[in-house]
């Protein structure tokens, strides 16, 4: 009799917890060669030098004194759990970004970098 009761309890737990779990990872990613930034010299390096090292920019923006090239890579991580009555989902997307500012002669004036793509993590929404 005790065995039957345990069996029923286990069945209830299994039926309530049955469902699906998902861990997903998405990369729009070709890692930047950060060491190549050491070769960039503001006031000297040109837009041609930049594209030779980093390839085609993700975005080009016209600025007041020239242009800016944006290079962006992303990592997204998602977690999902579907139970019978409740479901939870969590996603996080982080970027690696480098922005180069050029003057009107296409010479690099400044650049900034944020390398956070690897900080994307799995988790729950609470």
């Amino acid at each position: 009799m005790r065995l039957l009761r345990y069996a029923v309890i286990v069945l209830i737990i299994i039926s309530l917890c049955s469902g699906c779990a998902l861990f997903g990872k998405n990369k729009e990613f070709q890692p930047f060669d950060v060491s190549a930034l050491d070769t960039i010299a503001p006031g000297k390096s040109t837009a041609t030098d930049i594209t030779a090292i980093f390839g085609a920019p993700t975005e080009v923006v016209k600025m007041s004194n020239g242009n800016a090239y944006i290079y962006r890579r992303s990592i997204s991580k998602g977690t999902g759990v579907w139970l019978i009555l409740v479901s939870f989902g969590n996603f996080e997307r982080q970027h690696d970004q480098i922005v180069f500012f050029f003057d009107k002669k296409d010479i690099v004036t400044h650049y900034g970098k944020s390398l956070n793509a690897e900080k994307a993590s799995y988790g729950f929404p609470f």
Binding site: L4, V8, I12, S15, V61, M63, I84, R93
Partner: protein, 162 residues
Amino acid sequence: MPRKHHMGFRFKSIRILILLLIAGIFIASCISFEMVKGIEGSPVKPPGDKLQVGKTTLETALELLGAPDQLAEMEGKDLLVYEQTLYRDNRISLGIPLGDITGPNIDLSAYGTLVRYDTLALFFSPDGILRDIVFENGSDRSYMKTLFPEEEKNSNSSPQNQ
């Protein structure tokens, strides 16, 4: 006799458990609760004293904050935007599919989707000097108060007309 009582209790509890199990299987598709959270981008902090209008240069801002998430030119000024997006979605639904028996289905659902932004916008003049700062801390606002601002106002205001 007491032994029979004990057996009766056991049978009763098993019967309840089995009923619960059957009920759980049947209501599985009728009731559901969903909670989703999303984050895009790194945390954006208040600018503090590190950034000073009229003094801070574009170079300093890039060193302190890194690459901006968005860039634009606005009426001769350069706009740098640092932003983190926070997404939250909660929904609960109750539906009893009686369509084939009674006609209309019973279907109740409620959901709230909220996207909040922490944004720091920096305006630079063409000579690369910081001219203006705008900071918006959207994540400070609570989920429920943002979704139901009217209810909050109504509960705070006392009736004036008697």
